[in-house]
């Protein structure tokens, strides 16, 4: 199947749950396994939280935009903000690196996104924002059970 969607919301922490819920509904027709759903939800949560907290400092007015395409069993998704940008993307992607230790950010967001997706790329420019793009392929539950 093929499907496409865009979702924009202001940068408040309450919208992390909105993004997780909306995106979970979007992939439900692909019939993913429970573990795939939960990994996908985690990726969405990490990317959106980064945009809200680091991109916009929870300013409550700037917009985070999710764009997603379903192509057969695969989702291709971007999470975009026009916020602060990342000073050094390579450093930001190192496990345990965080610019906000006082907020108890663990610095594990990118590690988790990388591990739970099939591919991940991050484009960022200081002062103009960040785009995180990832792909994840799902194995439909019905197909898995047929294989067994």
């Amino acid at each position: 199947m093929r499907n496409e969607m865009t979702l924009s919301f202001v940068a408040i922490e309450e919208n992390e749950a909105l993004a997780r819920m909306a995106m979970t509904c979007f992939i439900t027709p692909l019939d993913p396994t429970l573990e795939e759903i939960s990994e996908f939800k985690t990726i969405v949560s990490e990317a959106v939280t980064n945009a809200i907290i680091h991109g916009y400092n929870c300013d409550g007015k700037s917009l985070v935009t999710i764009h997603a395409v379903i192509d057969d069993n695969k989702i291709i998704m971007t999470v975009e903000d026009q916020g602060e940008g990342i000073f050094d993307v390579e450093q930001a992607m190192e496990p345990m690196f965080t610019t906000k230790p006082l907020l108890e950010r663990s610095g594990m967001g990118f590690t988790i996104m990388e591990s739970f997706s099939d591919s991940l790329s991050v484009e960022s420019m200081l002062g103009s924002g960040t785009v995180v793009r990832f792909e994840k392929t799902f194995s439909p539950v019905t197909e898995v059970s047929r294989m067994r």
Binding site: E13, K41, L103, G107, M108
Partner: protein
């Protein structure tokens, strides 16, 4: 949601619902102040009823391990889901994971501390 109980100096934090950044910020100070006022010698994070967790959960647990460090407190993560278990392993918290009942791990912490 977090439900906090103390059993014999060991704090049991039972989490339910979704533990993200917003939720972690809501429950952090309650858990911290319990540690500082309660002569706590260990925390059991019971995740049996937790539906979702992202890296905010790692931040919350690592932060409380720091709170506990002056008291040499133990940290046990009980019954996380498969996805949560992966997240804990990425963060070096794999050795803190246990499966079983709250009573059995409280026994374990009691035993570990007794030997010390």
């Amino acid at each position: 949601m977090a439900e906090i109980n103390q059993i014999d100096g060991i704090m049991v934090v039972t989490l339910s619902g979704e533990l993200d950044n917003l939720e972690a910020n809501k429950i952090r100070s309650t858990i911290s102040s319990s540690i500082f006022t309660g002569k706590i010698r260990g925390i059991v994070w019971d995740l049996s009823r937790l539906g979702f967790m992202d890296s905010a959960g790692i931040g919350l647990i690592l932060g409380r391990m720091r709170d506990l460090a002056p008291y040499n407190g133990e940290t046990i993560i009980l019954n996380p889901s498969a996805t949560m278990e992966k997240i804990f392993s990425f963060s070096g918290l794999g050795p803190n994971i246990r499966r079983g009942s709250v009573d059995s791990v409280i026994g374990e912490i009691g035993g570990v501390l007794y030997e010390k």
